[in-house]
């Protein structure tokens, strides 16, 4: 099976500091792939490289076989790779529905003329966007919250809204940056359910997490970053027993 | 050939004035990432205050030695501008540090309009002339003429800049300023009083602006309520050219811009076959600004600042 996303020997340097060194990994269609590692291991940096917010210093990133390492973020979203942010970045003064509708931007075409004249095409498109946005809000469990301001939603709801907004771009691959950070166990379970629902809907998930338990229970495969290098990759069972991982990440004790 | 040397010298003089003003922009930008639009107006106020003092002194006793009178003017203008810079920051920028970016930019423009029009109400719409009281020696160098005033401007600028660099590199305040520029939060955690540092930055920048203002008005023999606008814009261009946020960059950028402008004005007629004349001198600063932003937004000496731009 071809890799949906492949990262090939990617390095990223900030001045003299190497945040990523020769990281390679590949995400297969249909799986839930976990990216774990201690704080400062370079997980978010890798995320930002993959989603076009950073340019890589060297190496290649391919999405569906296409090189994207120097593509702009919108290009990558267009190819079917959407993301959320570790520190939630919603358009907090827009409503939840509007947030999700912004996600529809790349999949819709209405331009200035259409927006002003509101011909049949633009009207239908706008209607469809609104409809789709409502469905997505329902899908992530925010039905009826459409008119609430994004900034006024509860923390958990904001996390869900970010996922809905990303889903609006019709991603094949959805990258979630610490989606359950700061949640209590029952909220975490609910989010886990949502992730499985996403996978069942045919979306490949790339998960950055701190919560080892969640990752181990949920992911098909896991990669471990430490000091900007990949130190292990494989199924949760294999990774859990990896000596380097235990040494670096689990603090010397088997989890 | 002598035109070239002459324009080079003129450019250097102009450039050292730009550099002094550019330092004010760059220091504030380095710390607050704010373009202090009102900075050009502070320069103008410096010139106006100095001229008022000079006028008053000469009015009281026309026989006072010229140099002494001008020095007195500077000695009043500098603290006046320091107070002004302090007040501007406190009133117009500090309350808006957490506001959306647009807000302090708009107050900055507001402040500069207020200063301009206040100056117009106080000193009138016309030009205020700088009395001819300074020594007017002329020297020949390589077929070009250099005046005492030009030498004095360059020398004083260099002196002030060296002083500033020493202040930033060697003193406690300078260290606090550099720390704040790196990261306001971290500096604060390390016990730096960030508010004081920011105030000090505005005060120092304004002092430099006052000196530059007096220099400009002495050089051109006049001052005008509107002079700060163009001067400020050019100095900002100079700061961007050198790499905004970088002190040496402001110096290099200022000098370079002065030279580009002087040479450009001297040769534009020949270059365009007489189509454009030296009245386009003011265009160069903007062309430089736009070209730098297009091709090297971090400026000549800029490093990391690129990703801030």
């Amino acid at each position: 099976m071809a890799a949906l996303l492949s990262v090939d020997r990617v390095s990223k340097r900030f001045g003299g500091l190497a945040a990523l060194e020769d990281v390679s990994l590949s995400v297969m269609a249909g799986e839930i792939y976990g990216l774990i590692g201690p704080n400062g291991a370079g997980k978010t940096t890798l995320f930002n490289c993959m989603t076009g917010l950073y340019t890589v210093s060297s190496g290649a990133i391919r999405l569906l076989g296409q090189p994207v390492q120097n593509s702009k973020p919108h290009r990558i979203v267009e190819l079917g790779f959407a993301r959320t942010f570790q520190n939630i970045r919603l358009f907090s003064n827009m409503t939840a529905l509007e947030n999700v509708m912004v996600g529809r931007h790349i999949r819709t075409r209405t331009g200035v003329v259409g927006a002003v004249l509101r011909g049949p095409f633009s009207c239908a498109e706008e209607q469809a966007s609104r409809q789709r946005a409502r469905e997505l809000l329902g899908f992530v469990g925010l039905a009826g919250k459409g008119q609430a301001l994004a900034g006024h939603l509860s923390y958990g709801a904001q996390r869900r809204l970010e996922i809905a907004r990303a889903l609006a771009t019709e991603p094949k691959l959805l990258a979630l940056d610490e989606p359950v950070a700061g949640m209590n166990p029952s909220e975490r379970r609910e989010m886990g359910d949502l992730f499985r629902k996403l996978r069942d809907a045919g979306i490949t998930l790339l998960l950055i997490e701190h919560d080892v338990k969640l990752v181990m229970g949920l992911c098909d495969r896991v990669a471990v970053l430490d000091y900007g290098r990949k130190i292990a990759e494989g199924t949760p069972e294999v990774v859990q027993r990896d000596a380097a991982v235990i040494e670096a990440y689990l603090g010397g004790e088997p989890a | 050939m002598d035109i070239f040397v002459q324009q080079l010298i003129n450019g250097l003089v102009l450039g050292s004035i730009y550099a002094l003003v550019a330092l004010g922009y760059t220091m504030v930008y380095g710390i607050l990432e704010l373009i202090n639009f009102a900075h050009g107006e502070v320069t103008m106020i410096g010139a106006m205050v100095a001229l008022a003092v000079i006028g008053a002194l000469l009015g009281a006793n026309p026989d006072l030695p010229g140099l002494l009178v001008v020095v007195a003017g500077v000695l009043v203008a500098v603290p006046a501008c320091m107070v002004l810079g302090f007040v501007i920051e406190k009133v117009a920028y500090r309350p808006l540090r957490k506001a959306p970016r647009l807000a302090p930019l708009i107050t900055a423009i507001g402040v500069s309009i207020v200063l301009q029009n206040a100056a117009m109400l106080i000193w009138g719409r016309g030009y205020v002339s700088f009395p001819a009281i300074l020594p007017r020696g002329r020297h020949e160098i390589l077929g070009a003429t250099v005046t005492d005033l030009q030498i004095a401007i360059v020398a004083l600028s260099v002196l002030v800049m060296v002083g500033l660099v020493l202040l930033v590199e060697r003193t406690r305040l300078g260290r606090a300023m550099r720390a704040t520029a790196q990261s306001r939060e971290v500096a604060e955690l390390m016990g730096v009083n960030v508010d004081t540092v920011i105030s000090a930055t505005f005060v120092i920048g304004s002092a430099l602006a006052a000196i530059a203002g007096v220099m400009v008005s002495a050089y051109y023999g006049l001052a005008h309520y509107y002079m700060g606008f163009l001067l400020g814009l050019k100095a900002f261009s100079a700061a961007v050219l050198g790499g905004i946020g970088n002190i040496m960059g402001a110096v290099v950028g200022g000098m370079l811009l002065g030279i580009i402008e002087a040479l450009g004005a001297g040769y534009i007629g020949d270059l365009t076959g007489g189509f454009l004349g030296s009245n386009y001198q003011d265009v160069f600063a903007f062309l430089v600004l736009i070209l730098v932003l297009v091709f090297r937004p971090s400026g000549l000496l800029g490093e990391r600042v690129a990703n801030r731009a």
């Binding site: 950073y54 959407a82 819709t108 | 109400l121 163009l230 903007f286 990703n307 731009a309």
Partner: protein, 370 residues
């Protein structure tokens, strides 16, 4: 009175009908009540409304600070003068010249925006400022060796707008009523302003408008949601410039005369003031701002008369005072009522929200250094 208001609330059609009648009668009411000079002021209110609505797309919708907006106004005005006056001996009809002027201004908007819009907002402010000055320097100096702009004297005898044989520049009798040029232009400008309002409102509530709001709120997140931030910013910039160019053409035809003096930086700033004062991003607010800042300076003229009456002579020229007050108003508004007199819902929330986090992180959108 309250009964009337309540009734209008219930019946918007009636409210709009009343408003329409009021707008149609306004020049006559104003002309009779305040004097004929005020009809011209009304015309300028409409012109400035168009300009402010155009700039509002750039500043209010997309959050980009454009300080050289008047340059686009100037381009539209000069193009109209070139193509519709004895200056070059060309006399094209207005319906051809106005769109051309708008297109030219839009083109310049793109040319100027393309290199600068990938940089942070304050650079755009300064570059547009410089651009405005460049345009003015060229207008002032391009009278030799080829006389393009006629220098500081400006261009004279610009054709008035003619619609189906009716020249708006001549007093006309229609159905027994006398319409002076300011009256005629009033109706033309009113139609154009309403069209502008329509376009502005429709754009705001559309896919494009949401994209603008998104980049204004959080550019990084907008990019990560698939918005081509550079293009969408360019679009705002070009749209604003087009409105500026259009208004410029109207201004040239209305005045019959243009010179560089009409297009200085202070004009740009005054238009910005209108937006800030009225309420950034909010169409009714912007219209109010345009109205207040056009009418108040005229009213300030009475301050001169008042000084003469009370103090015997004019101590402070009200014209000088005007800009000082504008500057103060800008500072005060930002400090105490940053969202404007009639804020848009969204803007008010932005200014009230006490977190600069997103703003600070804007900075690291792309690390160009790498």
């Amino acid at each position: 009175m309250t009964a009337l208001v309540a009734r209008l609330r219930r019946n918007p059609l009636l409210a709009y009908g009343l408003l329409a009648v009021l707008l149609l009668l306004l020049p006559f009411l104003v002309g009779a009540g305040l004097g004929r000079g005020w009809v011209r002021v009304l015309d300028f209110v409409l012109l400035y409304s168009m300009l402010a609505l155009g700039l509002n797309i750039v500043v209010g919708y997309a959050g980009l600070l454009d300080l050289g907006y008047i340059a686009f106004y100037a381009l539209g005005a000069y193009l109209f003068a070139w193509l519709s006056s004895p200056h070059f001996g060309i006399h094209l009809p207005f319906w051809l010249v106005l769109p051309t002027g708008a297109a030219l201004a839009g083109l310049f908007g793109v040319l100027l925006g393309a290199p600068t819009l990938r940089l942070r907002g304050d650079y755009l402010a300064i570059v547009t400022l410089g651009f405005g000055e460049i345009i003015r320097i060229f207008m002032n100096n391009l009278d030799a060796p080829i006389n393009v702009t006629n220098g500081p004297q400006g261009i004279n005898l610009i054709d008035p707008i003619r619609i189906a044989g009716l020249s708006l520049g001549q007093t006309t009798q229609l159905a027994g009523i006398t319409f002076s040029p300011p009256h005629l232009y009033y109706y033309f400008f009113l139609a154009m302003t309403l069209a502008t309002v329509f376009v502005a409102l429709r754009l705001q509530d559309s896919r494009i408008g949401r994209a603008w709001a998104a980049i204004r709120e959080d550019e990084v997140a907008a990019a990560a949601m698939g918005i081509n931030t550079r293009n969408i910013k360019l679009l705002a910039f070009a749209m604003g410039a087009m409105f500026g160019g259009l208004a410029g053409g109207l201004f040239a035809a209305f005045q019959g005369f243009i010179s560089p003096e009409s297009f200085n930086l202070m004009e740009s700033i005054m238009i910005l003031c209108m937006i800030v004062l009225g309420g950034m991003g909010n169409v009714p607010g912007v219209l109010l701002g345009a109205f207040l800042l056009t009418v108040l300076p005229e009213a300030l003229r009475y301050v001169g008369d008042w000084q003469r009456a009370v103090l015997g002579n004019v101590v402070v020229d009200p014209n000088d005072l005007r800009m000082l007050l504008f500057g103060l108003a800008m500072v005060m508004m930002m400090l105490y009522r940053p969202a404007g007199l009639i804020p848009s819902r969204q803007r008010r929330r932005e200014f009230d929200a006490d977190d600069g986090v997103a703003e600070q992180e804007q900075a690291s959108l792309y690390d160009a250094g790498a």
